[in-house]
């Protein structure tokens, strides 16, 4: 591997004010932009969720009309997936991957800037549809035809917003792969990379493989609506179900795009606070790769009820259930890492532990949904909603929270308020379970999702769920405050913030200076910081 020495050009006086942020090519600044954008979208998407929970507080139509309710479910999903979770992970990758592999910056710094700055414009277009006379898209985030084709003027804007988000994601992913494959410090072989880097490498591959497929799918929607094609129209020999196949060929790997980086984060945090090496490093790598491979051959489990040949249903059922094996290996390894560790429970570790337990609940309900005959019962009920919110909120979002607490001292140079962090964790964990656990029962009892009203027998659990929702939602303002407080000051953080932490990112000062590793560190089997496998 070539030594990576940065050259001086970037030490020129940087522009100040807004143009600094508009034109920056620095991975740390772009990482910050991603994270701030993600937090903003998290709050926007959260507000939409609260509209949904407020409407579902009691049976009957009280607050919003059904059309607007549908707009809220659609937009909540699009904003949270493409605006909150994915940019948060890309932001973390921007900040941490160069620091973890000992690179001076991302491989393609200008393109890095572009992949971020497309996003605010994409969401400007998406959110502007809320103010159009026809309203925002209301067909669900999956945009199934023929329903989605019947939307108003907002339809074309949504399609193009998705195109922009796709371009942004693909460029971000290309940059991350190029950085990992081409910019590692001398001596950092692939199997000496931190798990967060490994998981992002595989995630980036998934992104490049499936985002173009989504682009193709929505392009076909666009031409069906405006240019007279009949991809999804049986009258012309097409098939609306075909859209679902193409969409979920994107959609299922997309699910893992939103969880594999989380696995990487948890695999960093648990060893640190257990003061032990990660148990089964190599098996973790292979498990991640297996999950990624399987993600390409399970898509139709999202559509068992639309009908497919029996052989197809069986194949997709078994392939889906096999995913529990590599995922189980991961959970086992996390638990085994903690076994006889000298553990402490700072906020990042609390969120990581919350992740392990609650994500596993979401994983298990996923296995239930994979079984074809039971899925016929659960499909499109609140059971599905409970399932994917356990994996996305207590999975992906909890991991992002854990990552922020874990690395924010490195970013700001100050320790966050540990007491408030712990309050945030317990408040979130309790309220999120009050919010989503009852939805399992609602779904099993038959309450359909994406409907603004429901039968009175569902009233109690919906009431409990809504109370949990408001508690969780407003509780996140505490997180915002903790972050602001930490940016403004606090106890000075040391270079190695956590005494059990290993890895190159802890060898640079806190806060990390704007330019790090201009001269690459050398990683050998014996360097204590870098020999990731040895603690």
């Amino acid at each position: 591997m070539t030594a990576t020495t940065a050259h001086d050009d970037h030490h020129h006086a940087a522009p100040k004010g807004i143009s600094r942020w508009l034109t920056t090519t620095n991975h740390k600044e772009i990482g910050t932009l991603y994270l701030v954008f993600s937090l903003a979208m998290f709050l926007v998407g959260g507000a939409m969720a609260l509209v949904i929970r407020a409407e579902l507080f009691a049976p009957g139509l009280h607050l919003v009309n059904p059309e607007f309710f549908n707009q809220m479910t659609t937009m909540h999903a699009l904003v949270m997936i493409f605006g909150a979770v994915m940019p948060a992970f890309v932001g973390l990758a921007n900040w941490m991957v160069p620091l973890m592999v000992g690179a001076p910056d991302m491989a393609l710094p200008r393109m890095n800037n572009w992949s971020f700055w497309i996003l605010p414009f994409a969401f400007l277009i998406l959110l502007s549809t809320l103010f159009m006379p026809s309203g925002a898209p209301a067909s669900g985030w999956t945009l199934y035809p023929p329903l989605s084709l019947q939307g108003g003027n907002s339809f074309a804007f949504v399609i193009f917003a998705i195109h922009l988000m796709g371009i942004s994601s693909i460029m971000g992913a290309i940059n991350i792969i190029a950085t990992i494959l081409n910019m590692r410090a001398p001596g950092m072989s692939l199997l000496r990379m931190p798990m967060f880097v490994w998981n992002w490498l595989i995630t980036a591959f998934l992104l490049i493989a499936v985002m173009p497929v989504l682009a193709g799918a929505v392009t076909m929607l666009l031409t069906d609506r405006f240019f007279g094609t009949s991809f999804f129209d049986a009258a012309g020999g097409g098939d609306p179900v075909m859209y679902q196949h193409i969409f979920w060929f994107f959609g299922h790997p997309e699910v893992y795009i939103m969880i594999l980086p989380a696995f990487g984060i948890i695999s960093e945090i648990i060893p640190t606070f257990s003061r032990k090496a990660l148990f089964g490093y190599t098996s973790m790598v292979y498990a991640t790769a297996s999950i990624a491979f399987l993600s390409f051959i399970v898509w139709a489990h999202h559509m068992f009820t639309v009908g497919m040949p029996l052989g197809g249903a069986l194949f997709f059922m078994y392939a889906t259930m096999i995913i529990a094996v590599p995922t189980g290996i991961k959970v086992f390894n996390w638990v085994a890492t903690m076994w006889r560790g000298s553990m402490t429970f700072e906020t990042p570790m609390l969120f990581a532990l919350g992740f392990v337990i609650l994500f596993t609940i979401g994983g298990l309900s996923g296995v239930m949904l994979a079984i074809v005959p039971t899925d016929f019962q659960y499909h499109d009920t609140y059971f599905v909603v409970a399932h994917f919110h356990y994996v996305l909120v207590t999975g992906a979002i909890f991991a992002i929270m854990a990552a922020v607490y874990y690395w924010i001292p490195k970013w700001t140079g100050y320790m966050y308020d540990e007491r408030l962090g712990k309050i945030h964790f317990w408040w979130s964990t309790i309220s999120v379970n009050v919010l989503f656990f009852p939805q399992h029962y609602l779904g099993l009892a038959g309450m359909p999702r994406r409907i603004p009203d429901y039968a009175v027998q569902f009233a109690e659990f919906n009431l409990i769920s809504s109370i949990g929702g408001f508690a969780f939602g407003f509780g996140q303002l505490l997180f915002v405050w903790i972050v602001i407080k930490c940016v403004r000051g606090g106890k000075q953080a040391e270079a190695r913030v956590w005494d059990g932490a290993r890895g190159l990112e802890w060898t640079v000062p806190s806060p990390a200076p704007l330019h790090t590793f201009d001269t690459p560190p050398v990683v050998t089997e014996n360097t204590e910081h870098s020999a990731y496998l040895q603690r």
Partner: protein, 286 residues
């Protein structure tokens, strides 16, 4: 700047200009489709901004490259970037090929009553015979004929295959630093690309005017024009890249061991070539 250093550019205004351009472009497009008179103008302005951005951005990169600011490692990043970009393009085409295969193998036979589609056929489209090519049970777009594989498409296949040879000849000439041969072979490649595009346009006109085959000709017309259309768009982009590279060759750019832009363009051209071969087999022949 030391040997083996990694060039991290200072700030750049091009990405944000590109973002604003894309924003205006797609908003204009969306307005256009909704019937706004403002739409086409906005789209045109946005496209101009994006093109200007590309000129500026590539000019910066070429200037830096010619100034010798890029180490081998920077070249490695560029190569990674191009390889994965082409992979993303492959997956984009995969979506449309997937639609073609799904329609031919599943959707059309099912509407015709095969498998579990018996009642669909009986109730919705009795008497519909699922024979490819088809524009569906409702004969959308009216009767049409298809383009024979071994007429123009065969010639187009040969043109693209030969262009793959000529660009390789150019590469060999570049490695041996024979500038005149390099420019000759590049010019030949550009001409073949242009010839291909002309024949494609001729074929489209023929399809619309004589054969009754249009984008609205049911699933056949949809898959035919979207696949060949997106391919043609990529040939257009590839040809523009070839022209730029040719002009740079004329100006004396590139060295036997340092010509990433040339290689990237050649890879892209081969990718376009391979897509055409798959397309020729599955769209025209079979």
């Amino acid at each position: 700047m030391a040997q083996g250093s990694y060039y991290v550019p200072a700030t750049s205004k091009w990405p944000i200009i590109g973002s604003v351009g894309l924003f205006i472009l797609v908003s204009g497009f969306a307005k256009w489709m909704n019937g706004s008179d403002l739409g086409p103008w906005m789209a045109a302005i946005g496209a101009s901004v994006v093109i200007a951005m590309m000129f500026g951005w590539f000019a910066d990169v070429i200037r830096e490259s010619e100034a010798g600011m890029y180490s081998n490692q920077v070249g490695g990043s560029f190569r990674q970037g191009m390889i994965w970009f082409i992979f993303s393009e492959v997956m984009f085409f995969a979506a449309f090929f997937g639609a073609l295969f799904y329609a031919r193998i599943f959707a059309v036979p099912w509407i015709g009553g095969e498998g579990t589609g018996v009642m669909t056929n009986e109730l919705l489209y009795p008497g519909y015979l699922p024979v490819w090519p088809t524009n569906g049970p409702e004969n959308l777009g009216g009767d049409f004929k298809t383009i024979g594989a071994f007429e123009l498409p065969m010639i187009n296949t040969l043109i693209l295959l030969i262009s793959g040879v000529t660009i390789t000849a150019a590469h060999v000439a570049l490695k041996k630093l024979k500038r005149n041969a390099l420019i000759f072979w590049m010019a030949a490649t550009v001409s073949l690309g242009a010839l291909f595009l002309c024949l494609q346009m001729f074929e489209y006109v023929h399809a619309y005017q004589d054969l009754g085959l249009t984008l609205g000709s049911g699933i056949y017309g949809s898959t035919f024009f979207m696949l060949t259309g997106f391919h043609g768009l990529h040939v257009t982009v590839g040809s523009i890249m070839l022209i730029v590279i040719t002009l740079r060759c004329v100006r004396g750019h590139f060295e036997p061991k340092n010509h990433f832009a040339f290689e990237a363009t050649a890879w892209y051209w081969h990718f376009v070539d391979v897509v055409w071969l798959v397309l020729f087999v599955f769209v025209y022949v079979l």
